[in-house]
């Protein structure tokens, strides 16, 4: 079953294949295209140029603000997003925002939600957010507890696949072969090892919570739709957003969207949603490409292409992408029909 039909008409720009807004009805346009958007994470923060997390956070929270009519409280784990947004007094947060610790954002959010309940402020909704380290590693215990209790919190993971704030160290979300400061590109198996890491969205689904979705910063419509849908539900919900990190991934700052799109288009990052533990929809791959196109523009995978290269390792990564494609049915039999019209950029 495919439920991703909230935007029945797609207009893709030539080259980028980004979804355009200009030919859509105003009501179908993204929150970000609205000059009156809330700007939950305001300009002036200290994120790196091309930071995917800064984009993802603003996209997600602005959508959540619109969905809740501005009745939102955000809890933030320690990490890049927390550090670059609040070198006080220069906070970039225009929403009610609390940072406590690295590993406890889900539990703190549970407490905020409980307070809202006892105060009878049932219209106020709670979002907790963390990077991948704060989600799959140090925050996992609290996150699993929050899921299991089905507390009324939307937890958003901004996944940039390593500990970027501390200088690019491996996390449980770092992909195989990726160079980090603790998985250097040396030795016979350079970079991060194969066969490790957590599939966090599926772990979230295993808790049987009402809504689990993945998204990337490359597909704004999809990301915003998922946030809006999540905010219409109650109980524990999980959104896992892939946010490329130019610093840690060694990609060009201007390529953040491109890298995110390629992650999805290669099948390495399946974009899907699930309700009550069952996958209910996937974003089909429109223009399938090999993993080389994704890997070769990131310095964290440079060792796979230097000299004679490591085609054996690239082949293993391709096999992972192929496995995702098969598992989630990412290839659209009706792909041409979905693309109704291309718009010149």
């Amino acid at each position: 079953m495919i439920i991703m039909t909230r935007q029945p008409v797609h207009f893709y720009q030539v080259g980028s294949f980004a979804v355009g807004n200009r030919l859509l009805e105003v009501s179908d346009r993204t929150v970000q295209s609205d000059p009156q958007r809330f700007d939950s994470l305001d300009s002036g923060h200290r994120a790196c140029q091309g930071c995917g997390e800064a984009l993802g956070a603003r996209y997600a929270l602005d959508a959540a603000m619109r969905a809740t009519g501005g009745q939102l409280i955000a809890v933030n784990a320690t990490g890049c997003l927390e550090v670059f947004s609040t070198p006080y007094p220069e906070t970039s947060w225009r929403i009610a925002w609390l940072h406590s610790l690295f590993g406890n954002a889900p539990a703190v959010a549970t407490g905020v939600a409980a307070a809202m309940k006892v105060k009878g402020m049932n219209d106020v909704r709670v979002v907790a957010q963390a990077g991948d380290g704060g989600t799959v590693d140090i925050g996992f215990g609290c996150l699993s507890g929050m899921f299991e209790r089905n507390d009324d919190v939307l937890f958003i993971c901004y996944d940039n696949e390593a500990y970027m704030n501390t200088g690019v160290q491996r996390s449980g979300a770092t992909p195989p072969a990726a160079r980090t400061a603790t998985t250097e590109a040396v030795g016979p198996e350079p970079g991060n090892v194969f066969g490790q890491g957590k599939d966090m969205p599926r772990l979230a689904m295993a808790h049987g919570i009402s809504y689990v979705a993945t998204a990337t910063v490359a597909d704004l419509h999809d990301l915003e739709n998922k946030v809006e849908h999540a905010m219409q539900l109650h109980g524990a919900r999980y959104l896992h957003i892939l946010v490329p990190c130019p610093l840690g991934w060694g990609s060009a700052s201007c390529d953040t969207i491109k890298v995110a799109r390629l992650a999805q288009e290669t099948g390495l990052f399946p974009v899907f949603e699930a309700e009550n533990g069952v996958v209910t929809g996937v974003s089909k791959i429109r223009h399938r490409t090999s993993v080389e196109s994704y890997l070769s523009i990131q310095k964290r995978f440079r060792h796979l292409f230097a000299g004679s290269g490591r085609p054996d390792i690239v082949a293993r990564i391709q096999a992972m992408a192929d496995q995702n494609i098969a598992l989630y049915g990412l290839l659209a039999e009706d792909a041409p029909a979905e693309i109704t019209r291309e718009v010149s950029a």
Binding site: P87, A96, W97, N104, A114, C142
Partner: protein
């Protein structure tokens, strides 16, 4: 009305009358009876509106309390021992954020070796966390201190830890007059937060603070703790007039007017110490007791005044800093800073070993006759210690000391005193 109830029950009923709004629970002995009882009251609808949340760890328990308190709810939890250590990062965070959470600490030893019985190692491990730490001498005081704790916490916007001896108090059944609901309501107004998460007035809480302001922020925390030294006696006085009995305060002196030897201690052992003092006084020794109710902030002036006329001070403490010595002794020494006072540290009651009146009287006898060392481990079995030392000296792979000592003793739990 006095009722014969368990200490934990008395605390639970008192906390309930403080109208907590979010209560977190994670089981760890010996505090479990408290949160079990509150959980039952919440489930029965007696505390509405109140959310009772069974969390997956103590770290989550304190973290949920942080979120609830920052969002304007009166938050309570309880823990002990390993649980306090497991939540320690959040314990510091709650204080740093200035959130008036109240937590019961059912004092218990810290492993390894694992041990569920009473001492004060857990409270001492948290003494620098920025929490106000109050120690209960009796179950009545344990109950009463919670009412004072919520009031104190919310007036100062600081978290308060009420320390009560695990098992000795938590599981002891004795007469407790649970504070009357009307009196509690008169004494404890509803929580008006100094800072709150509110979508209508959005603020950022928990921002990064660099060297330009960190010292000032920390100093402000210190000043608020010092403010507590002024406020605690005022609240204790108000408590006495509202509830008709004395509880709380900074310190309590017993038979110190003419005392040349004064024993200083925290918590329930004060009762046994007073009995020992009575015995020694009957024999003509001029001995007295100072019980410290408020351990953090430390009441330097009051302690100094209380000990001003003593020639000899004996600090009996249920914890010590390994490689250093007594923790409370060091605080007392820095309060008195009087070289003419002979200060003795007696480490006692570790891991639940009973502190008997007989042993205390022997300590007082030694002290009065100038035989007490500067540091003494009460009722230490030196034969067992020497046996293990010899084993370590004679064989490289001597094995784990704890298990060796138990093997030498031969039987388990044959001795508590």
């Amino acid at each position: 009305m006095l009722r014969q109830i368990e200490g934990s029950r008395g605390v639970a009923e008192t906390v309930a009358r403080c109208r907590p709004e979010v209560v977190c629970a994670y089981p760890i002995s010996p505090q479990t009876h408290i949160i079990e009882a509150i959980g039952e009251m919440v489930k029965a609808g007696q505390l509405s509106p109140c959310e009772f949340i069974n969390v997956e760890s103590e770290f989550a328990a304190m973290s949920v309390s942080i979120g609830a308190s920052a969002a304007g709810a009166r938050a309570y939890t309880a823990t002990a021992s390993q649980g306090l250590l497991f939540m320690m990062e959040a314990v510091y965070n709650a204080a740093g954020l200035g959130l008036p959470i109240v937590m019961t600490l059912a004092n218990r030893a810290i492993g390894a070796p694992i041990n569920i019985w009473n001492d004060h190692s857990d409270a001492m491990a948290a003494r620098d966390a920025g929490w106000i730490q109050l120690f209960a001498e009796t179950n009545q005081e344990a109950a009463d201190l919670h009412v004072l704790a919520f009031r104190l916490a919310e007036e100062l916007s600081l978290p308060v830890m009420v320390c009560m001896d695990g098992f000795i108090l938590t599981h002891a059944v004795e007469g407790i007059d649970v504070p009357d609901q009307r009196d509690v309501d008169a004494f404890l107004p509803s929580y008006e937060p100094r800072q709150v998460l509110d979508p209508a007035h959005p603020i950022s809480i928990g921002a990064m603070v660099g060297p330009e302001a960190f010292t000032e922020v920390r100093y402000l925390s210190h000043l608020r703790q010092l403010d507590a030294l002024d406020l605690i006696p005022v609240l204790a006085s108000q408590f006495a007039s509202t509830f008709g009995r004395e509880s709380g305060g900074l310190i309590h002196s017993y038979e110190t007017n003419d005392a040349t030897t004064i024993v200083v201690a925290l918590g329930s052992v004060l009762g046994t110490i007073k009995d020992a003092v009575d015995q020694r006084r009957a024999l003509g020794d001029r001995v007295g007791v100072v019980g410290i109710t408020t351990f953090r902030p430390f009441p330097f002036d009051e302690v100094r005044r209380a000990l001003a006329n003593a020639q000899r001070v004996i600090v009996i403490e249920k914890a010590f800093s390994v490689g250093y010595g007594g923790v409370l002794s060091a605080d007392v020494a820095s309060a008195t800073h009087d070289a003419t006072i002979s200060l003795h540290s007696v480490v006692a009651g570790l891991g639940g070993r009973a502190i008997t009146q007989h042993s205390l009287e022997a300590i007082l006898d030694d002290a009065v006759h100038g035989r007490l060392d500067s540091v003494t481990f009460l009722d230490l079995d030196l034969d067992i210690v020497e046996s293990e030392r010899a084993r370590i000296d004679t064989q490289r792979r001597s094995g784990p000391s704890a298990e060796n000592v138990l093997s030498d003793l031969g039987t388990v739990a044959s001795r508590i005193g």
